[in-house]
């Protein structure tokens, strides 16, 4: 068994333990072979790398990174300098990178949620609820006591008396539209708007379709018009 190159996993990447004695050209060949044979196992991800066992200069590190790039699907995003041994800085850097990528992924999720919709036929009665990672279109009514929760927009081709929560993972650009808007509550992102306190009687049916949207931390309900539609940001 040849142990001149060893790959060791760590929290956010890998450590490459290299033989101190071996000739650099020979070592490069060994690294290439090692990564090529573990290509499947290592997979395709963004990782950090550090080196142990041998002093390397900048050019040598560059050469090794090129070899890894060719012989694996890994994407090296950070090289840890062991001479610094400043792990705190390293951890912070990694965290920032990871967060940035998550935000990017989250942004994509919000985007898709706003663009896709699931259709439901029939009315939701009290106690029934629909939860979706996308938008929701209901061909029917949403009665009082029923709930619709969606990461995207909510469109109701009927009356809404219950609760609708659009953009539930924090998308304030989401909206709720209905042919007859008389909801108990509308929520967009984490903003909550409730109906006015009525005295027993049902509000009269709305004659025109309306849309609820968020602006500056408030939820507004307006008749659907060209101006309102132009202002939508999804």
């Amino acid at each position: 068994m040849n142990n001149s190159v060893v790959i060791k996993g760590m929290k956010s990447g890998i450590t490459l333990i290299l033989d101190e004695e071996l000739d650099f050209e020979e070592l490069k060949a060994q690294i290439a072979e090692k990564f090529a044979s573990s290509r499947e196992f290592l997979g395709r991800s963004d990782i950090a790398i550090s080196f142990e066992g041998r002093e390397l200069d900048i050019d040598q590190i560059k050469e090794i990174l090129d070899i890894i790039d060719i012989n694996s699907d890994l994407n090296i995003i950070y090289v840890i300098d062991n001479n610094l041994e400043d792990n705190e800085v390293f951890d912070k850097e990694i965290e920032a990178i990871v967060r940035k990528q998550e935000e990017k992924a989250g942004f994509i999720r919000v985007e898709t949620a706003a663009r896709f919709g699931e259709f439901y036929k029939g009315s939701l009665r009290s106690g029934q609820s629909i939860t979706s990672d996308n938008g929701v279109i209901i061909v029917g009514d949403v009665n009082a006591g029923a709930t619709v929760i969606a990461k995207g927009n909510i469109v109701i081709l009927g009356s809404i008396f219950g609760t609708a929560h659009a953009g539930c993972d924090g998308n304030y650009n989401a909206f709720v539209a209905a042919l007859d808007m008389r909801p108990t509550q509308i929520r967009i992102g984490d903003i909550i708007a409730r109906s006015a306190d009525k005295k027993g009687k049902l509000l009269p049916a709305k004659k025109r379709p309306e849309i609820a949207y968020a602006n500056d931390g408030n939820i507004y309900i307006e008749e659907i018009s060209r101006e309102v539609l132009n202002d939508l940001k999804f």
């Binding site: 009290s126 029934q128 006591g145 509550q185 409730r194 306190d197 005295k199």
Partner: protein, 258 residues
């Protein structure tokens, strides 16, 4: 330390929720700090009767499952500053909560409130067991009908088996004209059958329907039912209150013309 009161009946439709709403509101009117808990998971009504449905964000199941703090789920009443409502979940069922969890919850609420009123669901299954778990006192609601009285008797038996400390009876929707004609059991008849202490008799009053639809409990106002509920609240506080003359206006009418 507060007192936990469960409002129960066995039979549905006899007025548990109306009684809970009015007793809770009445005690708050008498300056007590009160929290109403709707334990009817899946068929919640108390929020509607209290006119607070549109304020619900979190509910009983959220509290029990730790999705939110108790304070976040408590809805402050719009009329009385010392009255709060913990609404039930509508999209879940009775098995979402256990008696142990209810006991723990009421223990916590006891420290801050004078009265915790639990609106119990109809039936004798899990929902009933949840509601009575942490209760110190039970108000058994019945109407003067054989079926309701039969169910009340069953409930009182179960409460005794569960070692309820105090059980009181409320007779609801009594119609004096029918009693006089001999078509309805009198309050005395019901008490004789059930053999528990009576704490109130509420007449059948169409104002109840109006108040329920408006989401505005009528306790303490000038209607017969409003007065009867207020008397129940005073008796809960330990006051001696004489029973109302339920013959009301009709007897006056009869006295003159009859």
């Amino acid at each position: 330390m507060g007192e936990v009161i469960v409002v129960t009946s066995g039979k549905g439709g006899v007025g548990k929720t109306t009684t809970s709403a009015n007793v809770g509101t009445g005690l708050a009117k008498l300056d007590k700090k009160v929290v109403l808990i709707d334990t009817d998971i899946g068929l919640r009504n108390l929020d509607v009767v209290m006119g607070l449905e549109n304020r619900i964000v979190y509910n009983l199941v959220d509290v029990v499952e730790g999705n939110c703090r108790i304070k976040q789920a408590l809805i402050k009443d719009k009329r009385y500053p010392t009255l709060y409502l913990l609404p039930s979940a509508q999209t879940r069922d009775k098995t979402s909560v256990t008696p142990e969890q209810m006991k723990k919850l009421t223990e916590q609420l006891k420290e801050e409130f004078d009265y915790i009123i639990l609106d119990c669901p109809a039936g004798i299954e899990q929902g009933f067991k949840n509601a009575i778990a942490g209760a110190d006192r039970a108000l058994v609601v019945t109407t003067p009908e054989v079926s309701a009285v039969r169910d009340a008797d069953r409930i009182i038996g179960l409460l005794e088996a569960n070692e309820m400390k105090q059980t009181h009876l409320i007779i609801n929707r009594l119609r004096m004209d029918m009693v006089k004609r001999g078509d309805m059991m009198s309050a005395e008849d019901v008490v004789e059958i059930l053999a528990v202490d009576l704490i109130g008799v509420v007449p059948d009053d169409e104002n109840i329907v109006v108040s329920t639809n408006q989401g505005e409990p009528l306790v303490g106002n000038d209607t017969l039912a409003g007065k009867a509920y207020m008397n129940i609240c005073r008796r809960i506080l330990g006051e001696e209150v004489p029973y109302l003359d339920l013959n009301g206006k009709k007897s006056l009418f009869k006295r003159i013309f009859g």
